[in-house]
């Protein structure tokens, strides 16, 4: 016979919140027509749960409880303000007429509410940092402390970002809705890029000692699954999901037992998560199946799949990867894509073919502050036997690299070059 579970009441409330926050904020936003107010009401309901559930026990229907509390608070607020504003008086009368949770908890509406919530949290009037914070807060159910820890900033900064974001949305009078068809593609692009940003922040920390903050990356994968499920008929949500699943599949092999990073070519491919690869390939097949061609995420997923299905670096279909990078370069030209194309060409045709591309990038001045360019150049020069030039490039790469562990890797390469052979 077990004892009653030792999880704290707080952890239990937080678990409910993680599952329900999107639907609760979404329902309250639809109900009040005011996203910022809905977020406040939801937080008040959560705060009340943290006080009463440990005392009275977790209610049988925790989501319904939270929603009811949020709704009651909304009505109280409307009544208080109805004396001043006829708009609120009308809402208060309507809500009196429509008592009961059913109005709020309409299963056909929930998907739309969650989607509308994604669109508003990632609205283009907001700064990138605000979109990320708001998405993790309302769709991920994370609190400000958790978001702050994930992004290595003070909690007060996250709180300020969220407060400011809500004010910005209110000032811009952004409606709580799934955007109309003419805005839809651009707005979806913003939603997907926020999820991608959360993933990359989680998978390669831009600063600090942690190479992979897996929890954050996993949350991004979960959010990508949610969008892909809500929008099955567009290619890019499926493409993003495929990209994240296929990239996350490599996490178990990306650091060794001592926590040191391992580059793709040295990774033990047996440690890749095969179930994640299968899920990623299935999502990519769905993206292709839509029949409108692959977007930028879909193309990157196709590249990731080339690696995922190859038994080794040598077995990889580098010719196909070159073609995919060319397609990506046409769709979303960027120096990073060009650099990756150069790496793929060096694998398909040899380092000599790739060096001029990297040379052109250096001349263009793009990526001049990044360690990527000298890292790749060093690799190509090493393979061509031009060791002194390679060492000089690695010196530069070490100076430019901001991630401690990645820098250690580069230093290791440089030391290896100085060894007599």
């Amino acid at each position: 016979m077990g004892t009653v579970s030792g999880s704290s009441d707080r952890q239990a409330v937080e678990a409910v919140w993680r599952i329900e926050s999107a639907r609760i904020v979404g329902s309250l936003a639809r109900y009040t027509g005011d996203f910022a107010l809905a977020e406040d009401l939801a937080q008040e309901a959560l705060a009340e749960a943290l006080v009463t559930w440990p005392r009275d026990g977790v209610p049988r229907n925790p989501a319904g409880w939270l929603l009811t509390v949020g709704r009651r608070r909304a009505i109280d607020g409307f009544r208080r303000r109805s004396a001043l504003d006829e708009r609120y008086a009308a809402i208060a009368r309507e809500t009196d007429a429509a008592e009961g949770d059913d109005v709020l908890w309409d299963p056909d509406q929930i998907d739309d509410d969650v989607l509308a919530l994604m669109f508003i949290s990632c609205h283009p009037v907001l700064s990138r940092e605000a979109r990320v914070a708001l998405t993790l807060r309302v769709l991920g159910g994370l609190n400000s402390d958790e978001i702050a820890r994930a992004f290595l900033v003070p909690t007060a900064t996250v709180q300020a970002r969220i407060t400011r974001a809500k004010k910005t949305l209110a000032a811009a009078q952004v409606p709580f809705e799934v955007p109309p068809a003419d805005e839809r593609q651009e707005r979806m692009g913003s939603v997907l890029s926020v999820i991608y940003l959360i993933f990359t922040e989680g998978s390669t920390a831009t600063s600090g000692a942690d190479w992979i903050r897996t929890d954050l990356a996993r949350e991004a994968v979960r959010l990508a699954r949610v969008v892909a499920h809500l929008v099955p008929d567009e290619p890019e949500p499926q493409g993003l999901l495929a990209l994240l699943e296929l990239t996350a599949a490599r996490f178990p092999a990306r650091v060794d037992r001592g926590g040191e990073p391992v580059l793709l070519e040295q990774q033990d491919r047996g440690r890749w998560d095969r179930a994640a690869i299968r899920r990623g390939s299935a999502a990519l097949a769905r993206a292709v199946g839509v029949g409108r061609g692959l977007g930028a995420y879909g193309l990157q997923a196709a590249i990731a799949e080339c690696h995922a299905v190859a038994a080794s670096v040598d077995d990889t279909d580098w010719e196909r990867i070159v073609l995919l990078y060319e397609a990506l370069g046409r769709l979303a030209p960027s120096p990073v894509v060009e650099l990756n194309r150069a790496v793929a060409i060096s694998m398909a045709q040899g380092p000599a073919s790739a060096l001029p591309i990297v040379g052109r990038l250096v001349e263009s001045g793009a990526l001049s502050g990044s360690h990527l360019l000298p890292s790749v150049r060093a690799e190509l020069l090493t393979r061509l036997g031009r060791v002194d030039e390679a060492a000089a490039e690695l010196d530069l790469a070490v100076r430019l690299c901001g991630n401690e562990r990645e820098r250690a890797l580069l230093e290791g390469k440089r030391e290896a070059l100085r060894m007599p052979r």
Partner: protein, 139 residues
């Protein structure tokens, strides 16, 4: 983190299902599954055929005794499982609490699914299992 929800019930509790329309069971369970899919947490699920159709191999004696049907003296029967990818044990428990068609005599056990990465990597049998997982795309 992966967790398995193991659905367990007494024979009486399973028998009580006989009274419920099959369509209703499918709809209730389907709604629950859909919720977990929408939330992006469901990674695998299987249900088991009637325990009466099963066989038990009992190792209490030598040679083991093979009997048809349910476990005999066992109080609970397994009905199926879910595998969820969630952030915490508490979240897995919260999903377990939401399962439909539950009541007295029914239990759901929540267990963390271990990863092959937790096993000694230099063991040849682990290496073989890894190769099989790699070849077949197993979890």
């Amino acid at each position: 983190m992966k967790y398995m929800l193991i659905m367990r019930a007494t024979e009486d509790a399973f028998a009580s299902f006989q009274a419920i329309e099959f369509d209703e069971i499918v709809a209730e369970v389907g709604r629950f599954n859909q919720e977990m899919i929408s939330a992006g947490v469901l990674v695998a699920a299987e249900g088991l055929d009637d325990a009466e159709q099963g066989v038990v191999v009992d190792f209490s004696s030598e040679p083991p005794v093979v009997t048809d049907g349910p476990y005999g003296e066992a109080k609970e029967l397994f009905g199926g499982f879910y595998i969820l990818e969630v952030a915490s044990k508490e979240e897995a428990v919260e999903w377990a609490k939401r399962a439909p068609m539950t009541g007295p005599g029914m239990k759901t056990e929540v267990r963390r699914v271990t990863s092959i990465d937790e096993m000694p990597q230099d063991n040849e049998w682990i290496a073989k299992e890894r190769a099989w997982r790699e070849a077949t795309g197993q979890l």
